[in-house]
Subunit: 601 residues, 2 copies
Amino acid sequence: MSSTEYQVDRRELQFVVNETLGAGKLCELPDFSEFDEEMFTMIINEASNFSEQVLAPLNENGDRQGCRIENDSVITPDGFANAWEQFGKGGWLSMNLPPEYGGQGLPEVITIIGKETQLAANQGFTIGASLTSGAANLIYTFGSEEQKNNFCEKMFSGTWSGSMCLTESHAGTAVGDTTTNATKQNTGHYLIKGTKQFITNGDHDMADNIIHLLLARTTDAPKGTKGISLFIVPKIRLDGTPNDVKILSIEHKMGINGSPTCLLSFGENNDCQGYLLKAENMGMSQMFQLMNEARLLVGLQGLAGAGAAVQNALAYAKERTQGPSAVHPGEKALIIEFPDVRRMLMQMKAVTEGLRALMYTTAWYTDMANHGPEESREKYQDLLDLHIPICKSFGTDQGSEVANLGIQVLGGVGFTKDFPLEQNVRDQKIGSIYEGTNGIQALDLVGRKFNTKNGQLLKVLLDELCWFDQHSPEGELKGWVAEWETYSILMQKCIASLKKTGEAEGKDGYVLYASNMLDLMGDVLCCFYLLKQAVSAQKKWNSMLIGTASQAELLEENEEAQFYWNKLRTTEFYVWSVLPRALSNAKTINNANLAPLRASL
Amino acid sequence: MSSTEYQVDRRELQFVVNETLGAGKLCELPDFSEFDEEMFTMIINEASNFSEQVLAPLNENGDRQGCRIENDSVITPDGFANAWEQFGKGGWLSMNLPPEYGGQGLPEVITIIGKETQLAANQGFTIGASLTSGAANLIYTFGSEEQKNNFCEKMFSGTWSGSMCLTESHAGTAVGDTTTNATKQNTGHYLIKGTKQFITNGDHDMADNIIHLLLARTTDAPKGTKGISLFIVPKIRLDGTPNDVKILSIEHKMGINGSPTCLLSFGENNDCQGYLLKAENMGMSQMFQLMNEARLLVGLQGLAGAGAAVQNALAYAKERTQGPSAVHPGEKALIIEFPDVRRMLMQMKAVTEGLRALMYTTAWYTDMANHGPEESREKYQDLLDLHIPICKSFGTDQGSEVANLGIQVLGGVGFTKDFPLEQNVRDQKIGSIYEGTNGIQALDLVGRKFNTKNGQLLKVLLDELCWFDQHSPEGELKGWVAEWETYSILMQKCIASLKKTGEAEGKDGYVLYASNMLDLMGDVLCCFYLLKQAVSAQKKWNSMLIGTASQAELLEENEEAQFYWNKLRTTEFYVWSVLPRALSNAKTINNANLAPLRASL
């Protein structure tokens, strides 16, 4: 492959999903009994083909051409409407949605393959497209039979698209300050009035209708988040007449330019009809139920961007020459021969594979929480709830860092628009902001999740982290696991230290270094899941080594052997060269310096 | 000030330059005897006014409009030509250049004020403009009397501009692979033939002529860097006829769009005249002499971007409300009330002030090395040589991180082009790449500088770091200095550990974690210079506290007191919440994992 195209690493996905997570075992569960591992392998291939062949070719133009408003409608970049149609018809929109309305009913751990490869191929297209799944799922989960019949099938197939209308100009993080109002009419529907900001795919030309899921406040609703209700607000009503929804403007952004970010006005002419989802004042709890999925998706944006960056940088480093080679005297050096370039590539690769291990495992927890044996569902839900803010925040921060390192590997050309990394970095930057800023994720982690059910979530996690007690590592893994365990213990000490700070300094002191706590956990968890993968890789590698003349010969000839060898190397690198970041976060948490609260800013 | 404008922090510059570095004392040196501290204060004001009033207003349009080629010439954004004229006439181009040809002859520690504020106001304009100083300085340093008379005055005043033509498509880092050739003619000049890439301000419409300083290889020159010569190649010859220089294209980049990055062809019609600078094969050593200045400038780009980001983010955090206030019940909260926002702002502020302390001290070392008492010049040159790669690499990496944090403080709007942070991040990204990538800086530090004169540079640094032995810290500074000293010792241990790795694993092992070593030193040095500043701040703060009812009252009323208080808080924060990053780098260096060299990438 070249340094300008995107090609899915099918081997890595196969390894993560089938060889280490053992997704095939999910097929023993009643909800997934119609699938088998072979089908999962087929889906890896099909998803990869779709992302490579349909979405990737539209990525660059999506950025350059961007979206525009013409005649009060948003026009998306050339080819997006056609890709949308294929996206819907191919079932990519409904991978994890219920078969009842035409969904594929696939496990999350398989659905995530579609999402990662689509995001890696085209962040602008996919971020918008994925919101339709979420909106449709909300209607499926909370809608009346009539609502489900009216909307689900059309949304599952992409005939209609969806949008999430939460933010207002004064109400972003503080969603309780929503002022858009909904007035009940005798006919049963509500009249919606208000303005919503930052609405991804709030208007476009790709589907026949747009179904907005909108947060609004009904008459005499309680203040704050308790008084928010969720409404279905179609752009075009079911009888075919236009609803009173108007596009005011689109944002000019750093990236994801293929995705229109809209300022929408509802009810300018007092004629915007909305249909209540289930009951009044349930909006927040309804949003919460879909939050895990949405936040994992944004985390995936970071992983996907990182994965694409690794490929582009690796390919460039293998084709670009510079100066004389020390390895092949007389020849020019490929820049991949230089230690500093190799260090950057390993950093990129190790962090990306760590994130993938983290997020695919989190997807697997989702499946076990929703479809697994009844007796273990709570445990997996606890793990899931604890992992989500880490996936979102650590995933997007690290994804950006990896892509920025990719530009560094390319050097001067990396800063130009001739290579996709430039766009990758700009597209990814939004990930740390939307769907709850990363600061909010850290608060969610230490403020909410640490304290849920008297700390039960943390206890479940610590049990999980004892996995190596039952699975003794062998050979070189012994030392790696032992080293990782020191960090795992450090993490526990920091959690205790944080609580102590909270007791001494109050809530502000407790949350001040929440982000450091989240990052520390991110590294400990990514490394843990990589080490589990390394156990599988080591077994395969050792078995291949039997009967081979030498390690060097095996590596020379055998791509499979190379894969397992490299998986061991990235794990090793994470333990000794990435994990040390946790020391920095730990020290900062323990120092608990209060200067930010005392400074006269 | 607002979150969209740039306003120089005059108070901080005054503190750094006059109150802590004591720039006034430089006026006791013969070369600066015509200046005094009052004049320096005046220059702080004038430089600030120029940057705020002339350059900052052109920044956004410079990015949006960018540069274009029309009729084989580059057209710069509206207003740039006019700003250029003022830049030259106002003496901003020649602040540190010799008075002999119309320069201002100012110390570097004052010149840097102009550069920082100009870069903060408009990176695209300033990066290009600053190259003229460098090119002019090369001619002044190595040119014949005739060359100096022909070029210096016109370049010092900006009537003519300069460019540096080093890179070729296959010769970036490996400048020794230059193939552009120069053939000596009987008339004394050379005929130049070749193509140069990534030439900042290689063509434009701002000055009457462009004087290219170009690296080329003369006939039968030795291979590699030893056979490179430096030529003056004017766009228009001294007799007014056009030289054979052609603009082929300009790059489409992530940022600094106000600055044209050109692909230039020299001698397509075998008629490109170049004039040798001093002697053949001196090109590399000539470039080296100007390298410190150029690399400090790029480091400054990071500092300047960071400084602008701090301002924008602080201003936004003080005007943006979100949710209910915990501090003022019943009112909306300003987001600056939230601990996580305060943590981010402190991180931005502490790192920025640390970088400023580092770079202004480095500028002061430059003055002492070039103009100080003869007996101490070598010492300051050693310190300078050791500091430069750190200023360049740590400055640009940290500058990018600070600006990215700024976007995070703004949240959703930070990702839009409505606020200058979006452009700031894109503009800065180039800093880690050009003028020697940051990886090259790290190699320069550990490969070259550590070993120069048998490790003399490090010895001089360690002497310097003993400053607190002679200046015992008082009060709260005692604990901070003691803590910092543990990191200073850690740094020394890591240098030893790195050497040991080199002995055991060879050169590749030695340089593998050079970047971590550089980052570690960056944190230790920034914190050291901040602590020295804190000594001054503490004295002022304590003297203001005398006779005041309470600390709170003093802070409430007195902006000066606030300034000194905050300087102490940012220093404190650096010690306890930023410096811990050094632990991560130290551990990675000590672990010395070789997976990057062993992986089958």
